[in-house]
């Protein structure tokens, strides 16, 4: 904001700074000169060697998430969640570095809206795992439900098993890696980022894809509207080799024989937009 006086900000002209906000709506303004604004509110320094265990068996979702936040506040950098019992919305909204180890399975919306933590889940996850994830890494040892990684903006989301339909729907960045098969409409309206499916994938892959890349190791049932196949490059192969190694995917894959899917840009074409509009659209 160099060169612009505070009072010249458009938001001042709109009266947003004087307006008394009521209810749950609040507006926080970012000022790059204030160092604390580089961190999320309530993001604490944690020690990864400081470890705590939570038994989730008798706790409800809200109590569990509160407990995780309390432990983070106390500086615990490694939290183990036992007996999650496929409960919904566990581990959501963690906006900082943390090692979260889930011994069991999560239900719907597990570890949604996270920014930074490394999460390991020994079981399965239900629908919409890691929805809206900004950064960090999530590794699931077994299968995942539908809408896996919906609208993620960054980070690595890895499922070693198979996933349901619409994985990576509306994703805007980051990487989704699936060790097994994926269902219909994978990458539906995907806007950026990469999806890697080591096994087969269902119908309408990449339907209405804006941008981004999808790699498939197995069979593709059908491509969606505006999804087109393109040639694999040496760069792609190198990237896949490195990425799948980091993702701990054991499956033997001939990367050069994978299929690469991108947008045909007939349906939605960012190239026709001005840079500012393009940014706004994403």
């Amino acid at each position: 904001m160099a060169g612009i006086k505070k009072s010249e900000h458009k938001s001042y002209g709109m009266g947003l700074h004087d307006e008394v906000l009521t209810g749950r709506t609040q507006q926080t303004f970012f000022n790059s000169e204030e160092a604390e604004n580089f961190f999320y509110h309530d993001a604490f320094d944690v020690d990864f060697n400081k470890r705590a265990t939570i038994d989730a068996e008798k706790l409800q979702c809200k109590e569990l998430n509160k407990k995780i936040k309390e432990l983070i506040k106390q500086g615990y950098g490694t939290i183990v969640l036992k007996n999650p019992g496929a409960k919904h919305s566990l581990g959501v909204g963690i906006l900082q570095k943390l090692n979260l180890i889930v011994e069991g399975s999560l239900g719907y919306f597990g570890v949604g809206s996270i920014d930074g933590p490394v999460v390991r889940i020994s079981g399965r996850v239900g629908w919409s795992c890691a929805e809206n994830m900004m950064s960090g890494k999530v590794v699931i040892e077994k299968n995942a439900g539908s809408c896996f990684g919906a609208a993620i903006r960054g980070g690595d989301l890895i499922c070693k098993g198979s996933v349901g339909a619409r994985s990576g729907i509306d994703m805007k960045g980051g990487t989704i890696i699936i060790g097994g098969d994926a269902g219909a409409f994978t990458g539906f309206m995907m806007q950026r980022g990469r999806i890697v499916i080591c096994g087969d994938v269902g119908a309408n892959l990449g339907d209405s894809l804006y941008d981004g890349t999808i790699f498939v190791g197995g069979k593709i049932k059908s491509l969606g509207a505006d999804a087109v196949e393109t040639e694999m490059t040496d760069l792609d192969v190198d990237w896949l080799k490195r990425k799948l190694k980091v993702a701990e995917i054991d499956r033997k894959i001939d990367f050069s024989k994978m299929t690469k899917i991108v947008s045909g840009k007939k349906l939605w074409n960012y190239d026709n937009l001005e840079p500012s509009e393009r940014k706004g659209a994403i």
């Binding site: 399975s105 299968n143 439900g145 539908s146 198979s162 269902g202």
Partner: protein, 313 residues
């Protein structure tokens, strides 16, 4: 939203009533309006079990019109009379609530005539008529309905159930799931989703002589399957063809005397989690329902789009 659940024990009989109650109670948040059970019990297979209602539950939250409960007695007498008229015999008679009954009857295997006669009585609807099927549905959550109808210790091999969030039709027993595959013995259906070609398909089935009791789109699946069975089509084939003939987003479960089946539409827009072991298959809209039976870590997965599966008891 609605929640559906089902389970089948392979080669053994157990407390399916209690198990289904636990599963459906775990899905209460998906549908608080009404709960229904289709349980397949250990009957002697000689006689038929008839579950029917002669009125609606008019407690708070119901969209049914209030009636003087005295009419229930009159309607019940009329039903008894109709049963006798077709040459059937009432072996056992039990009133469960003021408006619903459980009978054991002896009748011939073609159930159409007796079903038509019973339903000719005003406000009377057969919930189920079968050798092992007992279909119970009412307003309230699983615990309320199970307690009201004494289902907590129901022994059997398999069952399906539903928790309903009323969307396109009223909060009443008539629109609650499961639906019986009228007029075929022991066929029941539960559904989660919306059918978008309901009226066209309904009119086509009505022209073939099939009967509808509600305007709930889920009933269409039961009638569709019943019509296929009438034509001699196997259950699995009937379910596969439903994926082409029914339009919309849906996941549904069908149960017969010794089978449990599931089907998921081509969009896979409605959830279903499946657990399968050597002696048990359990499936539900959410894994928490399966965990109510099996609290330890288990391997589950989501069936894919266009998938049809059938298991034998």
């Amino acid at each position: 939203m609605c929640g559906i659940a089902g389970l089948i024990h392979k080669g053994k009989s157990t407390n399916v009533g209690g198990e289904m109650q636990d599963m459906l109670q775990s899905l209460k948040h998906r549908g608080p309006d009404s709960t229904g059970f289709a349980l397949y019990g250990d009957n002697d297979s000689k006689n038929y079990i008839l579950r029917f209602k002669v009125g609606e539950n008019v407690k708070e939250g119901s969209s049914a019109k209030n009636e003087d409960s005295k009419v229930y007695e009159k309607r019940k007498d009329d039903v008894n009379s109709e049963i006798t008229k077709v040459g059937a015999e009432i072996i056992e008679e039990k009133r469960i609530t003021p408006y619903s009954f459980r009978y054991v009857i002896k009748t011939k295997d073609d159930l159409l005539e007796i079903a038509q006669k019973i339903e000719s009585v005003e406000m009377t609807e057969i919930l189920s008529l079968g050798r092992s099927l007992e279909l119970v549905k009412d307003i309230g959550d699983a615990s309320v309905v199970a307690k009201q109808y004494g289902l907590s210790n129901f022994n059997g091999t398999h069952g399906i159930g539903h928790t309903r969030m009323a969307t396109e039709s009223g909060v009443d027993i008539r629109s609650a799931h499961p639906f019986w595959g009228y007029p075929f013995s022991d066929v029941s259906v539960v559904h989660n989703g919306q059918l978008t070609n309901y009226w066209n398909t309904r009119r086509a089935l009505e022209n073939l002589g099939m009967r509808f009791m509600s305007t709930c789109d889920s009933e269409l699946i039961a009638v569709y399957i019943a019509n296929k069975i009438r034509k001699g089509v196997e259950l699995e084939e009937a379910m596969k063809s439903s994926l082409e003939d029914l339009d919309g987003v849906f996941t549904y479960l069908v149960a017969t005397k010794d089978k449990l089946g599931m089907a998921k539409d081509h969009m896979a827009a409605k959830p279903m989690v499946l657990y399968e072991s050597d002696d048990l298959v359990a499936l539900a809209s959410e894994e928490v329902a399966i965990r109510s039976l099996l609290p330890h870590e288990i391997d589950t997965y989501d069936p894919y789009e266009g998938e049809v599966k059938v298991w034998q008891a």
